[in-house]
Amino acid sequence: MQQSSWQGIKLVFRKELVVGLRFKAAWAAMLMFSLTTLACVSMALQGGTLEPRLLAALLWVILFFASLAGADRVFADEDTAGTLLALRIYGPSQAVLMGKMLYTFFLMVALAAFITPLFVLLLDVTVTAPGLLTVALLLGCGGIAAAGTLIAALTTGASVHGGLFSILMLPVILPVFLPAISLSAAAFGGGDSAGSYLVGMGLYDLILAVGASLLFDYLWYED
């Protein structure tokens, strides 16, 4: 049983990756969105320097909103392509959820790896604790993936899509968002940040993933 569910997760992840790479819209939308936002911020500042806390908030706002352009598609794309029915008939709920969550996490990490160096470069940020920043980014991406996958599944079948995903995401992701900003600020040299934030974020990520897993069955099976 354990073996087969891991197999299923791998299958879903690989399918997402192959389809995602062949159809680059989600990637392009996400990366371009982050790049455009970053360019706007950088241009507006004209080389002026910002406080670490403000910088951290900016980085996360860019990451969060760019993630919305990519993460909300994991189920919506299947819905518009009509493949959701095939997936519902053949795919066990947990394999589908976890596979897609893993893929979203991968997408988010790629996004963070793309935009963070550019952010540091363009805004002339001094990173005093790169390790802390990396862990904060990973945990933040984990939270967005865990919550985003379930919420993307919730919004299929909605009559209005514009903005819905971010409206639903924000309150749930705030507990990841706020400590992530604090930690990133510390990594940019703005005061020290308690290690308990890292534990708290990790714990909350886990709660989100487990909660999503428990609730997803109700969306996947109608009985």
Partner: protein, 209 residues
């Protein structure tokens, strides 16, 4: 032994009653046709049977050897062919099959794959490297049939299975469905085709409201 029992099932959409109350039982080893004019709810009935939809009132109970099947245990034994079913347009036929069947824990080796293609009348030469999105509707229908056969499911829910198929294709469906029923599978098809209706062992007629 698998049975699907409809207990006083009523279905409404946006306040409009589609059908009901329906009282019926489908059992393995038989082909049951669901008939009725367009809009009478044939496809909806199949979705209810598959637990892809919850009825407005009443219950749809799927039993296997005295045990009720719900959630994953039901889905694992179920396969469907419906016009709404779409393959991943950017995966090949093989890619789609490997993915969907793999989720059921079934792997298809090369010889089994070739044999299956031949069984449903698809030629490797034509589909080898093409994405499913480039298939003709007839080819897609045959691919759906291939997945159905390879899934090993013992509940077959077919919605207009002969649609978009030529005469040979329709014959293929009738033959495969009969064989499946003889092997003890439950076959239910929604149809308006007289030959498919005639080939069934029993029929549920939806009057339409």
């Amino acid at each position: 032994m698998v049975t699907i029992r409809f207990e006083e099932v009523i279905q409404r959409f946006h306040g409009r009653t589609i059908f009901g109350p329906i009282q019926a039982e489908l059992a393995s080893g038989r082909i049951v046709a669901v008939t009725g004019q367009n809009g009478s709810g044939k496809s909806t009935l199949l979705k209810l049977a598959a637990h892809l939809l919850l009825p407005t009132a009443g219950r749809v109970v799927v039993m296997a050897d005295g045990r009720e099947l719900v959630g994953d245990s039901l889905r694992r034994r179920l396969a469907m062919v419906t016009p709404e079913l779409r393959f991943y347009p950017r995966l090949t036929a093989r890619g789609n099959m490997d993915f969907l069947l793999g989720l059921r824990g079934r792997a298809l080796d090369e010889t089994a794959y070739q044999a299956l293609l031949e069984r449903v009348g698809l030629r490797e030469k034509e589909i080898g490297t093409a994405f499913a999105g480039e298939f003709s509707t007839g080819m897609r229908q045959r691919l759906k049939l291939a997945v159905l056969l390879a899934s090993g499911a013992d509940i077959w829910l077919l919605d207009e299975p002969g649609a978009n198929l030529d005469a040979a294709g329709r014959k293929l469906i009738l033959r495969e469905a009969r064989q499946a029923a003889d092997e003890g599978r439950l076959v239910c098809w929604a149809t308006n085709d007289e030959r498919e209706e005639a080939a069934a062992d029993a029929a549920i007629k939806l009057a339409g409201h």
